[in-house]
């Protein structure tokens, strides 16, 4: 029946697809903006991401150890948040700290998403023994208490950016794997999967073309929630003094650790104890709000009220 049909205008199809993707994305954005929780979260996140990216424009380059002044100065015009025990300007450290905290959190979350989504897809799609083994493994990693586990990993591998990313990813992938797996199991039973199989599509093709696009939105929501947890985990590990030693820039967690070691708060110097903690809290809260908001939007079953 298609022998004398007009030749396919691939360019038009391509254009249409872009357009439809764009409309879909715009609709999605509208939903995000309408969902108060997600929107507020997004604003908070954007604020902190932009703030750490433009840190060099606001406070100049990161101070070297030769650019220190009098230690433990209270806040003044010259030093908005005073100086820490080593004489660094706290405000500068604070703005740059976000770069480390967020970089680690984003990368760790990306690794956790790849591992978690991969395991969830394979386990949910292939079922049977594969699922048994992978689902059990996921449950196993889910019950491991994360902080002692991450501490052991960090102590064995040594404190650096890379090891911290690996440690955080290792404790955060199981949640995603479980969520994706159960979503894949429901999608797998839908009619279009059968139809695709009937016209000869193989499993890898079905996973790539049909299952993955359908779970992708959920992966994004999970990614956002995982970033929230990763910022948190990074802060805990850095508080233990396991902050990356290969990066001259202090993360927020390391800043709190420094101020704890120097009795910063207990002697009344709130200015280099308080701000990094507030920043950690707000960033974690922002990502959590966006994540829960996204889940709300993507999973209408949760929305009935």
């Amino acid at each position: 029946m298609s022998t004398n049909a007009a030749p396919l205008d691939t360019y038009a199809i391509f254009r249409e697809r872009i357009a439809s993707d764009f409309t879909r994305f715009r609709k999605f954005l509208v939903q995000v903006v309408r969902n108060r929780l997600a929107f507020m979260g997004l604003i908070i996140i954007l604020f902190f991401v932009i703030l750490s990216l433009i840190a060099p424009l606001i406070v100049g380059p990161y101070p070297t150890q030769f650019e220190r002044t009098t230690p433990e100065l209270p806040p003044s015009n010259g030093h908005l948040l005073g100086t820490d025990v080593q004489g660094y300007d706290t405000f500068t450290l604070l703005l740059y700290g976000g770069q480390v905290s967020l970089l680690i959190a984003f990368t760790a979350s990306a690794v956790a998403m790849i591992v978690g989504t991969g395991i969830g897809l394979v386990a949910g799609f292939y079922g049977r023994m594969t699922d048994q083994v992978l689902a059990r493994a996921t449950d196993f990693f889910l019950v491991i208490p994360w902080l002692p586990f991450a501490l052991i990993l960090m102590s064995i591998m040594g404190p650096s950016m890379g090891t911290m990313i690996v440690a955080i990813a290792l404790v955060s992938w199981p949640t995603t794997a479980r969520v994706i797996r159960s979503q894949v199991i429901t999608i797998k039973q839908r009619m279009f999967i059968n139809r695709s199989r009937a016209i000869g599509a193989g499993s890898p093709h079905i996973i790539r073309k049909h299952i993955l696009p359908n779970v992708m939105p959920l992966v994004w929501a999970e990614a956002v929630l995982t970033i929230s947890g990763a910022v948190f985990t990074e802060a805990f590990l850095s508080f233990f003094g396991l902050g990356p030693k290969d990066n001259p820039i202090f993360s927020w967690g390391t800043m709190v650790n420094q101020s704890y070691q120097d009795l910063g708060l207990l002697s009344g110097r709130w200015w280099y104890f308080g701000p990094p903690g507030i920043f950690i809290t707000l960033v974690v809260l922002g990502f959590a709000m966006l994540g829960y908001g996204l889940e709300d939007i993507l999973n209408p079953a949760l929305r009935r009220r």
Partner: protein, 331 residues
């Protein structure tokens, strides 16, 4: 369902998981480079050369360190079964890890227990309001404030509380779990004294964890409210309180059981930093010391105990769930 078979399956699950965690524990430490006795012997033993340390030979024997990996694994597991968790290098002279952990377990369990009960209670109170009045002002306030507490790192909250209620206005003690003259008090004063010391640590726990329970109850209430029996209850002319008490809560409470068990894993992690901040000699402060000194056997011992706690808590929750929910019980 056959209850006996179910229980048996849970026991098998616990044993299997603990076995796997112990194996993971063993293999994790196999990646450490160099002479294993280097990290297992007390620092400075034998001077600059660990091979000169007299304890080394004993250690090689005990853990079969000169044998292939599989034999070492068997030896490790056998030692574990005998309750031998290794030797601490922090607490000299080479105190067995089990003896280091045991006396510190009770205070951690006490703090965690009190904190869990209070968080659970407060979570139910708050979650009930916010779930029932979903979307209204009271819900928004409760959800946002508990979520805010949940987003704060426990160590930071602990330090803030320690500063404001211990240093700026010294109301509560901020260090240790008892006064210096504790042993000369009578029982009532001892309990009061300990309770007084635990106010801030427990408060830190509750602030950072109550969202876990309030949000769980809120979500499960959301699931329950559209059910037919709720419509019926409303149609029968029951007041809102009656609907909530008699029909909504009994059904919505069940997920809290699972939440409480999953929460246990967090509790262990939270306890570690909170005990360090309030200088309470429990498992958490021990973990801090172990991490700082790279005392691997002590760390892995604490990890095993913590994991054991989480696994048992999870299995208990599963059993409780079946006992509490007639639908699952009969299925």
């Amino acid at each position: 369902m056959n209850l006996r078979r179910f229980l048996l399956r849970k026991v098998v699950y616990v044993v299997l998981t603990v076995f796997l965690i112990a194996s993971l524990n063993f293999f994790l430490f196999q990646v450490l480079p160099g002479d294993p006795t280097r990290v297992l012997l007390p620092k400075g033993c034998g001077g600059s050369n660990v091979t000169a340390c007299p304890l080394r030979e004993e250690l090689m024997q005990e853990w079969g360190l000169d044998q292939p990996v599989f034999n070492r694994y068997i030896i490790y597991m056998t030692n574990l079964l005998k309750g031998n968790l290794g030797t601490s290098i922090t607490f000299r002279p080479g105190m067995p890890v089990a003896d280091v952990i045991a006396p510190r377990l009770s205070i951690t369990l006490l703090i965690v227990g009190i904190a869990t009960v209070i968080s659970l209670w407060l979570g139910v109170v708050l979650g009930r309001v916010s779930g029932w009045r979903r979307g209204r002002a009271s819900d928004v306030i409760i959800t946002m404030s508990t979520l805010f507490g949940y987003s704060m790192p426990a160590f930071w909250v602990g330090l803030l509380l320690a500063f404001y209620f211990g240093v700026a206005t010294p109301v509560f003690p901020v260090s240790g779990d008892r006064s210096a003259n504790f042993s000369s008090m009578d029982l009532i004063s001892q309990i009061a004294d300990m309770g007084w010391h635990l106010v801030l640590p427990v408060l830190t726990f509750v602030i950072t964890n109550v969202a876990w329970f309030s949000l769980t109850l809120r979500n499960s209430l959301t699931d329950v409210l559209p059910e037919d029996y709720m419509v019926t209850a409303n149609a029968k002319g029951l007041t809102e309180t009656q609907q909530l008490r008699r029909h909504a809560l009994p059904n919505a409470r069940l997920p809290l059981v699972t939440a409480a068990a999953l929460y246990f894993g967090w509790v262990v992690s939270g306890a570690i930093v909170i005990e360090q901040i309030f200088q309470i000699e429990g498992l958490g402060k021990l973990e801090w010391t172990a991490t700082l000194n790279l005392d691997y056997q002590l760390m892995s011992g604490i990890f095993l105990i913590a994991a054991l706690g989480v696994v048992i808590a999870n299995a208990t929750a599963d059993v409780l769930y079946v006992l509490l929910d007639p639908r699952v019980r009969e299925a």
